[in-house]
Symmetry: C2
């Protein structure tokens, strides 16, 4: 293979996304787009990609490649291993641009088209030396979503199709080779079907756009992000799997539910084909196992959406307010929760970082109790953790209930010295967390004393907790008992 | 409102899911289902729900309600505030069951039907006192997915519709009130459209089920889990928004892309309606802001799928192997990465728990380097962290590069005493992590010495690192400088 260099022809949202993905995966990229704003648009996509694509990895990426804007198509494609065409979806425009690319690009390079609608044979028609042309249809945002539909025609060189798959895998994508070329490939056939139905719903005044979006993102959208259509329905079929689902759901196909009524006959052959394909797809996994995988995926994704405060995550954040934790027994109960499966390691034990996540939750709650709450923080002051000491005494598994009891060891001056005990439901001590926080002015980020209302509440808690004596484990250093 | 008690009539996957959601949100539940296996099936759904629903919350849930199985429908519905009918989708069966429920249920209770296809007026037809009947169509798994389509008919009492919404919100769901009753409501119209198109693709031999699932879950499924259809396309329209998208995409509606060709005319009125609805939906958020929200959601969800090792997450885990970290300069570089936005707080600074996540990643990598790798762990031995001491010296923001350099302070006997330094790209020290780990037999979970190969490598690293002297900050306790 030649150099890790790609040419991007057409620099809109899709071309820019391709440029960003190649660059961040270490490829040099030459962009050709005569539009006056192309440079600005690519830069904006690239800025988005730089802040998000590396976040997907727990390792560093290869160093970013070099980005150049070429004055001519011939300059852009010189010496590249990959050309990506992303010009408007008009066949005459595609033909002209692909003919130009074919005339100037290296003999062994992949000439990929981002077309969402045209078959590769449509694109190749009338273009000289068109065996290098293959459809590689990505999804926006190209720098984050892994899917690429790779569609060769009979005329596409086999080696080009294979090279395309290898390169797409190298830049982190999921090439889906479509063996039989059809208009709109696979994904856009499905998207078109939904889009038409959605237009009818708006047209007929059944639902507004935000209601249709809600019907998707609070429901089946969450299923589809991780399992797709058939695997989801396999589970819906319960213990008897896909064939049972088809038997249940088949009749509904003939009901007058949609505006679009041309329905394939559910012949025995079609039922057999779908059932057998679904069996192969599931491999050794039972429906029971698939259910648990699905649930773990959903919990992880929903918890991610809680952090961004979006869609179903925003809903959970609001609903959670209905379940406040309460004070008790001199010490303050700052956490009372169940351990999520997304917090556990391959053995089902809560992994290390989440001990600090629980203690951090306890600290946040204690801050609220003494009045260093979101309003106080919005007024420009907060506490920052400067030091943490965790001792592990026992283990927690997914699903176990856990509580944290918190005491204030010192609340004088700028200090907030906390001691958290993490307990199982039966009272067994699982871990302790000792934390020193310092009160800061968020503007200068320098230490300063808290406002009187906070200082007073803190002093009262510290005095009350001092009567309990120093807890076992406080004040110790690693490897030395305190 | 009466007691927090619900009757579940029909105990399959959907009825069981309703039972689990009500129970875990503190409601008492009476199930009526004469099928012999109903009890076992409900118990299995409930077991799944108990391990996953509480994981969505960072607080405790209300105590679980009492579950009873009733011998008659009349017993089940006595004194309840909610009846959920989830019997098979046959109108004559629904009519009979709903008439029975209406005859025995309290006068002020909500009688909700899980039907995915029938209009509420179809269900009410011929049933006495049917003003209490409203469609409440949920999505599997009912205990995790928040969407419920709430569809009243003209005959449904207004107060019943309002009470249904309030109760569904109380149990953590997202009621979507559908103002105009149609067959299959909203979501199943969309699902049907996709299902038919997918059946054609299989029928015509274009794609197998796993390929269709891949086309969804590696691509648009991830978009739909958080934004739905219209908001996603609004972004695809770029800076000019929805109207521009419609202008671009409109013509494709008339192309022969799907088997189902009855397409609404994109009249000026329809374009206006969609554009105005989309503007309202976006509120004050610009396309640029929506893009960043979308990217943050995608990163969070994809990182969640990395943890479960599923779909796009499995792909990332594999792809990440292409970017290994390397050793250098006496100390061991155990982490080299960018800080994800999903790791930061409202100020954009890396939040506390993720400091330990980084150090934990460093510890795992150091374990691999000394030979305590996944194979070693699979052979029955590992290191467990018993103590952690973190000092915060500076801050990291989203998108910053960060490295960890690791040294072995002590590797004698059962001990693994590590000292990690977290550095910015320019070498500034951001935090230190000092960790004591103990080597354990995973079967007995008791301490024991490591195997010779591991012990030897550890001794070599400890000797090499001892020549560097004790690092600043090692061996200190909270509030005392070491």
């Amino acid at each position: 293979m030649t150099a890790r260099k790609a040419a991007i022809v057409g620099g809109g949202v899709i071309g820019g996304g391709w440029a960003a993905r190649f660059l961040l995966q270490g490829w040099d990229v030459a962009v050709f787009d005569p539009a006056p704003e192309a440079g600005r648009k690519i830069d904006e996509v690239l800025a988005n990609a730089r802040r998000s694509l590396p976040s997907l990895y727990d390792t560093g990426l290869p160093g970013e490649g070099a980005l150049t804007f070429s004055g001519s198509l011939a300059d852009a494609v010189a010496g590249v291993a990959w050309v990506q065409e992303s010009v408007p979806e008009r066949l005459e425009v595609k033909h002209k641009v692909l003919a130009d690319i074919a005339a100037h690009a290296p003999a062994d390079c992949v000439i990929a088209s981002s077309t969402s609608g045209f078959k590769p044979s449509d694109l190749q028609s009338g273009v000289d030396d068109a065996g290098r042309i293959v459809v590689c249809h990505p999804f926006n945002p190209v720098y984050l979503l892994p899917l690429v539909e790779v569609v060769p025609s009979d005329q596409t060189d086999t080696v080009i199709g294979e090279r395309a798959v290898a390169i797409l895998e190298e830049i982190g994508m999921r090439p889906l080779v479509v063996g039989k070329e059809i208009d709109a490939h696979i994904a856009d056939r499905l998207l078109e079907a939904v889009w038409r139905e959605a237009l009818w719903l708006v047209n007929d005044g059944v639902a507004e756009t935000h209601e249709i979006d809600a019907a998707i993102r609070y429901g089946f959208g969450l299923r589809w992000a991780q399992m797709g259509l058939f695997e989801t329905y396999r589970i819906a079929g319960g213990e008897q799997g896909m064939r049972h689902f088809l038997a249940q759901f088949g009749p509904a196909l003939e009901w007058p539910w949609t505006k679009l009524m041309d329905v394939p006959d559910l012949t025995d052959d079609l039922v057999d084909a779908i059932s057998e394909q679904s069996d192969r797809q599931a491999g050794d996994l039972s429906v029971r196992e698939l259910e648990r995988i699905r649930d773990d995926n959903l919990v992880g994704m929903l918890r991610a959406l809680k952090k961004t405060g979006w869609a179903a995550g925003a809903l959970l954040n609001t609903h959670e307010q209905l379940n406040p934790v309460t004070d008790e027994c001199g010490l303050v109960e700052t956490v009372n929760r169940q351990i999520p499966q997304s917090w556990t390691d391959y053995n089902g034990h809560m992994s290390e970082a989440h001990y600090l996540e629980v203690f951090s939750q306890a600290t946040d709650h204690m801050m609220q109790i003494i009045g260093a709450d979101p309003d106080y923080i919005a007024s420009g002051f907060s506490y920052f953790t400067v030091e943490t000491h965790i001792r592990h005494l026992d283990e927690l598994v997914a699903g176990e209930g856990a509580r944290v009891l918190t005491r204030v060891l010192d609340g004088s001056g700028k200090k907030l010295h906390l001691f958290h005990e993490l307990l199982k439901a039966d009272g067994t001590r699982v871990a302790t967390g000792e934390h020193m926080l310092i009160h800061v002015d968020l503007e200068t980020r320098a230490a300063c004393p808290p406002k009187p209302a906070v200082a007073d509440r803190l002093t009262a808690y510290a005095a009350q907790h001092a009567t309990l004596g120093l807890p076992d484990g406080a004040g110790s250093a690693i490897g030395k008992r305190g």
